[in-house]
Symmetry: C2
Subunit: 208 residues, 2 copies
């Protein structure tokens, strides 16, 4: 691409946000970062891949622990030595900033919209869909058992929401945090990809 | 237009949402309803135009009154005989439903996204922008005194928020209420119009 654009995508579980981000990156010919980002974080910080995989869940548990013990929790961007989830967040944030500075890319999750809130050349997106469509998707696409889909969806959404609010002090899924939000259930996956490509084009034309 | 599309636009005060909606309607060659809707409501219901103009403010006042007196307020979709703001809401809702059934159009505000939540062929949008940009807009475009802009913005946003939440029991500006949301400060007015035209096209292509 001639003009630089860094697209961050936050998404509800089962909305297809990850797949949409990957297709957008392919269409625009730019890099795509998701699990690759976790691996980089692991290499640079000494955290094990297993620890990082369970990261969001750990933040939620540690939040509940702090609320139970102290009646509150800190935003903790400058954590105590022992607070590993916070250290991991800072490490991941630095990696996101480095990636965004280098070149055009799509970054999925990891509060990238917040981490890059003051960075230039960004487009911050949120992808959501009706619960029924997401339930159907996680059963047919992710292979989650039908009987467990409802609980899995609720848990994963709650984890993402808690993780986001813990580190950003913003409301997850509030339109104001994003330059655009899209309902992938309404548009369908392919049309959502095209919507994002069009948003990028309109932004670049407006800036030119 | 060959395919029917009813576009509802909710918007923050000063985001340019009304002007954007008018341009979208012009570009698509479809009807545009804002104050015209109020006039229709006035004709059909016997409310005076002055009463309707002060409508959102009245809802807020009556809510505060109810909270002060009863410690709560009802959603009031089936209001007591004396509750005029609720009667006006029902009247306006019926008009919105009639307009949406007839033909393609753009409808601004009046909780149209909620009123038409189960209607076919709709695209529900929310337009927002950073506070600084909106403050600038309401001074230069709406002619509001610079010294009063901050208070006016806060009051109008609060009125819209209260009015929306009073009648819909939903959170104003939550991405999930809309098929798409756009930051008109980020894209600029003209590019936001083009974004919406593209969203419509992508939706119609996906449905075809």
């Amino acid at each position: 691409m001639e003009n630089k654009i860094v697209i961050t995508i936050s998404r509800e579980f089962g909305s297809g946000g990850r797949m949409i981000g990957e297709s957008v990156a392919k269409k625009l010919g730019i890099e795509f970062y998701d699990r690759a980002l976790i691996d980089l974080a692991a290499q640079n910080s000494g955290f094990s891949p297993e620890y990082i995989s369970a990261y969001e869940q750990r933040v939620t548990s540690s939040m509940l622990f702090n609320i139970a013990v102290n009646g509150t929790y800190s935003l903790g961007l400058f954590p105590a030595e022992s607070n590993n989830p916070d250290k991991l967040f800072v490490t991941q944030s630095n990696i996101i900033k480095d990636l965004a500075e280098k070149d055009s890319c799509v970054i999925i999750g990891r509060c990238a919209d917040y981490v890059l809130r003051d960075a230039p050349d960004c487009l911050h997106l949120f992808i959501h869909a009706d619960k029924e469509l997401r339930l159907e998707r996680i059963v047919t696409e992710y292979g989650i058992e039908k009987g467990k889909a409802n609980a899995e969806l609720a848990m994963r959404d709650k984890q993402r929401q808690n993780h986001y609010q813990h580190y950003t002090d913003r409301r997850w899924g509030a339109a104001k945090n994003y330059n655009a939000t899209l309902d992938s259930g309404y548009f369908g996956i392919d049309a959502t990809v095209q919507c994002i490509v069009d948003l990028v084009q309109n932004r670049l034309l407006a800036k030119a």
